[in-house]
Symmetry: C3
Subunit: 132 residues, 3 copies
């Protein structure tokens, strides 16, 4: 199992980790790459890597749907919004790999989603060979 270290710089942020994952792929490998965020306020997703407005728009709309403060939020740390966003985005991603290359679509990158930064974050990375 490998571990990727990520330093985020804002409260809400999407960090492209595609190139970092690529460096970890074993040679002559076909199978899946499994990524896991070991946090409860930081998640993983895949989305567009061309126009940076896509990620900004996603961020703005998530903030609208899940505002930082609600009368009925009682969690003492004041970051219930970060926990909700993370569960909705999900803590793991799996990406297929063929001949040691990520089989991502042409517009896809893999992002760590920071919802309560800036912080030091970790993503666990495992590779599992296709076997049939």
């Amino acid at each position: 199992m490998k571990k990727l270290k990520i330093r985020t710089s804002k409260r809400n942020d999407f960090v492209d980790i595609t190139k970092d994952i690529e460096k970890l792929i074993p040679s002559n490998f076909t199978g899946i790459c499994y990524l896991f965020s070991t946090h409860t306020t930081g998640a993983l997703t895949i989305n567009e890597n061309a126009d940076p407005d896509v990620l900004l728009d996603i961020n703005k709309h998530l903030n609208k749907l899940i505002p930082k403060n609600q009368d009925y939020f009682h969690h003492f740390e004041g970051n219930s919004d970060s926990h909700i966003k993370s569960s909705l985005m999900g803590f793991s991603e799996i990406v297929p790999i063929e001949n040691s290359k990520l089989s991502l679509g042409i517009w896809q990158s893999i992002y760590f989603c920071e919802f309560d930064g800036p912080r030091d974050r970790s993503v666990l990375v495992q590779f599992i060979k296709e076997n049939c």
Copy 2:
């Protein structure tokens, strides 16, 4: 790795791909089937296959939560809603398989979620044997 081709017919659409996946399952196989959408405006989910109103209701409510237009959407293609919906639904599904049959619940089907169609779409399919 196998590839499933899907032609969607509306801007927002749920296409049941369960039977197409079943045809790809190897014989004498127990393990997992891993599905990956190679797009940023088309996702995957699982949901009910009995009353078609379930999928229509999901679609209507997603459209309410994530409308096509917002003052603060700046992505030049005008489909930020499609990107947001896709990240929330997720780009992969994994389904257990026992003795070459999908271990889906009685009401479950696997759907490709089109959020910016109609388009030609692809889903990558991998099978990984249970090994312990």
Copy 3:
């Protein structure tokens, strides 16, 4: 393939199944644990296990975003909200395992998300060894 039986006690509920999963882990195992909810109104997620207000806040906010009743919900069972919440949370989780221990973050637990209970529920559990 193993099956975990869960009895939920409310319409909306998060049941911590981490300890139940731990009991199923094979000895001398490093790889992934794959969990699958065989339902369309019950899902899986990971989130904080320390302050119970986190789960209560998630539940309250999901109820606000996806209310039980909407004029445009036509599904005859009256639980379209449960189906929508489930697709957004997702029906599977994958957790890395190292030396037969779940590699969860210090604050993470695995939850079955009940969105139309109380009911008897099942989660399928598979283990797949890291093999490269």
